[in-house]
């Protein structure tokens, strides 16, 4: 026996599978099982990219104006009832991924383990690892119920590797009758335009936090980011305060980043934030409180007023 059949739910954003999804595909492939991918929406558009990373078959759920989560979960359940049950389903820790796994968990009566960074299969036994307390403790958890095992993974847990495979075969799957659970309907889709490098792919990230003092001062972060060809980021505190959009948020509930250089400006280093950036190769922190936890992980820490340090730094870089 063992883990022979794995499903990967691939999150699509801006018309392409997210890197987190390709990571899971790579990992699933390395576990030596038959790997099928599920996507919400147009399968043909992503069949090439998914095939390149080793997928041979893509189940594309045409969910119409339904919310993707409940639609994909219902389609998966119908497939399982039809005799196609997988041993393991892997999800990226994304919006749709979380909805699909939660709905599916109840439909198949299985638990779901989230926030994982590693998975090991030993025969029938599958163990996943989750960092807790800001990443200083690792908890390994083994599934004890029956299959399918449901597990979700944080971005940047694995390295995506192309196998230069041909485009995957697309199987269009219709959504079963959702009954009352399908009552929510999408009436409009808004895509937020972003310029410059993407936060979770940038080589350098410059983030601002509450220490900026006011919304207008975020301009300093944007100026510095532009000079360094970096992506601007933010702590949850200033996203909650409405200074910058949610898409800027670095942390447990935002993006996980692992750039070469992370510059934290006016960020004290709450656990929620550190989880999202402590994997950066080099960390520079500027904060006026010398007790700030961020200094505990910074390679270069500046205890000082960012309103004095940043303008000088920007001026120095402009002069180069």
């Amino acid at each position: 026996m063992g883990i022979n059949n794995i499903w990967v739910f691939a999150q699509v954003a801006n018309g392409a599978p997210t890197s987190g999804s390709l990571e899971l595909l790579t990992k699933a492939r390395s576990m030596g099982a038959t790997v099928s991918v599920w996507v919400a929406g147009d399968g043909a558009a992503v069949a090439g990219a998914l095939g390149e990373f080793g997928a041979s078959k893509v189940f594309a759920v045409s969910y119409g104006s339904n919310l993707a989560g409940v639609a994909v979960a219902s389609a998966m359940k119908a497939s399982i009832d039809g005799g196609q049950a997988p041993d393991l389903v892997m999800f990226p820790q994304s919006y749709e991924g979380r909805d699909v796994m939660a709905r599916l968990s109840v439909k198949v009566g299985r638990t779901v383990l989230t926030n994982n960074v590693e998975i090991v299969a030993d025969g029938e036994s599958v163990t996943v690892t989750t960092p807790i307390f800001g990443g200083n403790t690792l908890v390994a958890t083994t599934f004890t119920g029956g299959t399918p095992y449901l597990a979700a993974f944080r971005p940047k847990s694995f390295v995506p590797e192309s196998v230069a495979g041909p485009a995957a075969e697309v199987v269009v799957v219709n959504v079963p009758d959702l009954g009352a659970t399908g009552a929510a309907q999408v009436t409009a889709v808004h895509v937020e335009e972003t310029t410059g490098p993407k936060l979770d792919e940038a080589n350098i990230v410059v983030s601002g936090g509450r220490g900026l003092g006011e919304s207008a001062k975020y301009e300093m972060i944007e100026s510095l980011a532009k000079l360094l060809k970096a992506a601007p980021g933010a702590s949850r505190a200033i996203v909650d305060a409405g200074w910058v959009p949610y898409s800027y948020q670095v942390g447990q509930t935002g993006k996980v980043v692992k750039p070469s250089v992370y510059i934290a400006c006016g960020i004290s280093g709450a656990t929620q934030h550190m989880v999202g950036m402590k994997g950066s190769k080099n960390i520079i922190a500027i904060n006026k409180d010398k007790e700030a936890p961020i200094f505990g992980i910074a390679d270069l820490g500046i205890v000082g007023d960012l309103h004095k340090v940043l303008p000088k730094l920007i001026e120095a870089l402009q002069g180069r």
């Binding site: 699509v12 954003a13 801006n14 997210t18 919310l67 409940v70 919006y95 749709e96 979380r98 939660a102 709905r103 968990s105 109840v106 009566g109 299985r110 638990t111 779901v112 989230t114 926030n115 163990t127 807790i132 307390f133 200083n136 403790t137 690792l138 908890v139 390994a140 958890t141 083994t142 004890t144 119920g145 009954g179 659970t181 009552a183 929510a184 009436t187 409009a188 889709v189 895509v191 937020e192 360094l228 996203v239 409405g242 447990q252 509930t253 250089v261 510059i263 520079i284 010398k290 200094f295 910074a298 270069l300 820490g301 500046i302 205890v303 000082g304 004095k308 340090v309 120095a316 870089l317």
Partner: protein
């Protein structure tokens, strides 16, 4: 038109909202695992998870807009803990169902969802159920959507803007590349992101009134949910280890020239 009349009637009807609230150890204190059970230590005084204060505020505003109705709470916590519930009651919620039962120790997210769904049913259901997107201590992040499935309800997760017009819920839902506008008839369940509204501070009057508000304490068996705790969990902790710590580097006080240190550091990394 009949339709217009129906809308008018719906506008004036009461709106009953149930908010799922979690009582958690103060995040200001470092967390710890209980060595024997490998569960998060929760024996001290617990507080209202800040993430849930947004849902409580949202519920109070929606009920006020509807012109009538109640905000009620459901919570699952050890040791008959009510400190966090009292905060939400002081903000304006009317009453609560608290599920407190030693048998629940070790429950997984699926069991938690079944318990909270049963607590919602005990309150007679609601027009709208609100939860945070994830708790600040366990952050599994699936319980709201699991509850919706258990209750057979539609759900809109990651709501960043919410209104109810004529009995129809309108939500801006966060997505990977922006947001979707979603409409949904009631009853329904939503999970709200932090910052969706500005939570009020409980007034002195509210705090005093909260002490007398009813908290209906029940066990899992009272709710008819069996196989809970470790017995019902589809998981077991196999090991707990310490991660390799990241060492601190050089920390300097800004003397007016610290910017130059940053420039030198960046040069050393060959990124400028």
């Amino acid at each position: 038109m009949g339709c217009a009349k129906w809308v008018l009637v719906r506008k004036n009807r009461d709106m009953n909202v149930i908010v799922c609230v979690k009582q958690i150890p103060d995040p200001a204190n470092p967390g710890a695992l209980d060595a024997s059970s490998n569960t998060l230590k929760r024996e001290g005084k617990l507080i209202l998870d800040e993430s849930d204060s947004y849902g409580v505020e949202m519920a109070l505003q929606l009920v006020a807009t509807a012109g009538g109705g109640e905000v009620n709470l459901v919570s699952m916590a050890p040791n008959s803990e009510t400190s966090g519930l009292r905060t939400a009651l002081a903000m304006g919620a009317a009453k609560a169902v608290l599920v407190s039962d030693p048998a629940l120790l070790g429950s997984d997210a699926l069991t938690t969802a079944k318990i909270l769904a049963a607590a919602v049913t005990r309150l007679g259901g609601a027009d709208l159920i609100i939860a945070a997107t994830e708790s600040s201590d366990g952050y599994t992040g699936t319980v709201p959507e699991q509850m919706a499935e258990v209750l057979g309800l539609p759900s809109v997760t990651f709501a960043k803007k919410v209104s109810v017009e004529g009995g129809i819920l309108k939500v801006d839902r966060q997505t990977e590349d922006g947001y979707d506008e979603v409409t949904c008839p009631l009853p329904a369940l939503i999970s709200v992101t932090a910052g969706v509204v500005e939570p009020r501070y409980p007034s002195f009057k509210g705090i005093m009134a909260a002490k007398a508000k009813p908290v209906d304490e029940v066990t899992a068996a009272d709710l008819g949910v069996t196989l809970v705790g470790w017995a019902g969990a589809g998981q077991k902790v196999s090991s707990v280890t310490q991660a390799e710590a990241r060492a601190a580097g050089e920390v300097i006080e800004d003397d007016g020239e610290a910017f130059a240190k940053i420039v030198t550091f960046l040069e050393g990394l060959k990124v400028i």
